[in-house]
Subunit: 392 residues, 2 copies
Amino acid sequence: MKNFTHKIPTRFVFGRGAEKQVGAEIKALGGTRVLIHYGGGSAVRSGLIDRVETSIREAGLYSVTLGGAQPNPRDTKVYEGIALIRREHIDFVLAVGGGSAIDSAKAMAHGSQYDGDFWDFFCGKAKPEASLPIGCVLTMSAAGSESSNSCVITQESTKTKRGLGSEFNRPVLAIMNPELAMTVPPYQIACGATDILAHIMERYFTIDTDVDLTDRLCEAAMAAVIRAARIAVKNPSDYDAQAQLMWGSTIAHNNTLSVGRESDFGSHQIEHELSAKYDVPHGAGLAVVFPAWMRFHMPNHVMRFAQYAVRVWGCQMNFEHPEETAMLGIEAHEAFLREIGMPTTLKELGAKTEDIPFLAAHTKKNNPAGFTGMCYPMTVADIEAMYRIADR
Amino acid sequence: MKNFTHKIPTRFVFGRGAEKQVGAEIKALGGTRVLIHYGGGSAVRSGLIDRVETSIREAGLYSVTLGGAQPNPRDTKVYEGIALIRREHIDFVLAVGGGSAIDSAKAMAHGSQYDGDFWDFFCGKAKPEASLPIGCVLTMSAAGSESSNSCVITQESTKTKRGLGSEFNRPVLAIMNPELAMTVPPYQIACGATDILAHIMERYFTIDTDVDLTDRLCEAAMAAVIRAARIAVKNPSDYDAQAQLMWGSTIAHNNTLSVGRESDFGSHQIEHELSAKYDVPHGAGLAVVFPAWMRFHMPNHVMRFAQYAVRVWGCQMNFEHPEETAMLGIEAHEAFLREIGMPTTLKELGAKTEDIPFLAAHTKKNNPAGFTGMCYPMTVADIEAMYRIADR
């Protein structure tokens, strides 16, 4: 088990009607002038933005709104938010939405406290040294951005999608009402569940296999998320299933499930190129990448994949041919993704065979050497080979 | 799934040599005058107190020491600490030890900021409204006090052992080096593992059975703790086993494993009377109480106990007679406790059959009506019947 430090500064307010407490919660945290950042018109039409504004007003605080956060959030919107924060002397940034709105809000909060171009943080030129407190009213279970140290932004002009890891990324407040996720379309629920599972798998397929406790916590979370996803995709109004997906999204990506060992975000890095190029949902891209990534790496990590198959998918262990068990787990994973309506081939994403060399080269070009795969490292040729597995 | 709020303010610094960072960490948290509170002479003899004092001095901070925290920590020591804190203008209380030192330090921190008698907090007369920041250098995996909201103190004159739940109880800093637990005697390691398991089981045996995710996380943690305990009791210098017990002790009792539902601390309440009356280790008392508690409640919660048997102990499910499976799990649990050297009968604790009515009545008398068992409530007659199961 590796040495680690761990702290989650987020205060979680979870449950039915939780959004009505947002004003009082922000006030308790010292916020006085709030930027409410959200995505499309649905948050307005559903009355959610109105409820949030009312709660903030009733707490005696000032707020302004900024809509238009897009899936795969853009740098252009971040610049707009930074200008607004400065103009309005905002001291608390509240995202209302899913990972896109939250990531967009995070970048705004950091950029507003930085003299240079905020993109410096995403291309590795600078690190955030100050930010504004960030909160969210979560409406979708997926990215885990509600308490993660991650933030992913796409530079619109170059279609470059880049992540920033920083403790400044962790929100101080996460308002989580699973009822708000009930209006998310089943396809998006499935994309979210795929993203949650990917976050856990990236912590599970590691070279540090000496942390039995973390292994088992990961397996537990994966089993629960798989079960809840099956229910929620069929019946989005099932509160308990939505609640477990929502809390699952949080613990999947805030280090609760990775203390004491390295994670491998190679597959996420690879996927960013897919969703940047074809503008497909992140979860759909991951559904294509992950089964191929698993098939590519399994031969070198047979017992780990067999453990995954046995403990998460309930496969019987074949002690003579563990690779058979390992493959059963991968097949079960892929069958589950198809069951909940996810694509699992490049074709289904609209990607062509001839794009593969570009996708592979771009992944490597845009990441520092060795970054693609902290635990299971991959060369450009490896990534190409992996993509060809997904090209069916 | 029930509504909840959740926040863990503790910063965890975990790993080999972590105690050398204690000074810098306290400084970063704003502490300047530190009370170092510890238990017996072993922390001094091992050089740990010296290393802690050196680290604090090198960070430019002032410290004083107060030893003598006892197992089942006493109010008398707390009064001594409160006086010292006031005299020395202490602004940070650091416990070096296990749950006893930490709980003692917590009570001192609260009491020092209160005009009345600190015992008011423990007999329900008052609630803490201020405290000093609390940190710890953990030397034993057991109570989970390093980030829990719990604190248990014994009033020496009346042998009354009482707990206080308060967010002020959560340390802001937990320095956790599993190597420090390697000198704990195997019997105490086993007591600690029993306490950790009890904390998880009190979250698992609940009436809120609709939170599959929390169920599975509990099962995962129990399985890992059982495995690590077996290893650590045989070989206390196994780092990974000690590391997993130590992190297990933390997550077992800081609400990571109980979000969204009620816990049932009835068995802990019952045990407090045992360790207060016979001055036995808390873990040893729990080892006697828990198998009896399970046998008492199983007939009314057969499927939950069967789930426990199947998922934690790997028992085969008997679908025709699930109560048989449920009992197999209880027997496996008890066999494990004996394997690691724990007592499982009242006799082994030195308790006599004729003490049972007193123990049962005292549990109830010292707890508000209905407190003994939030989920599986117990009358005095029930507690007596349970004790008789343990009287073999």
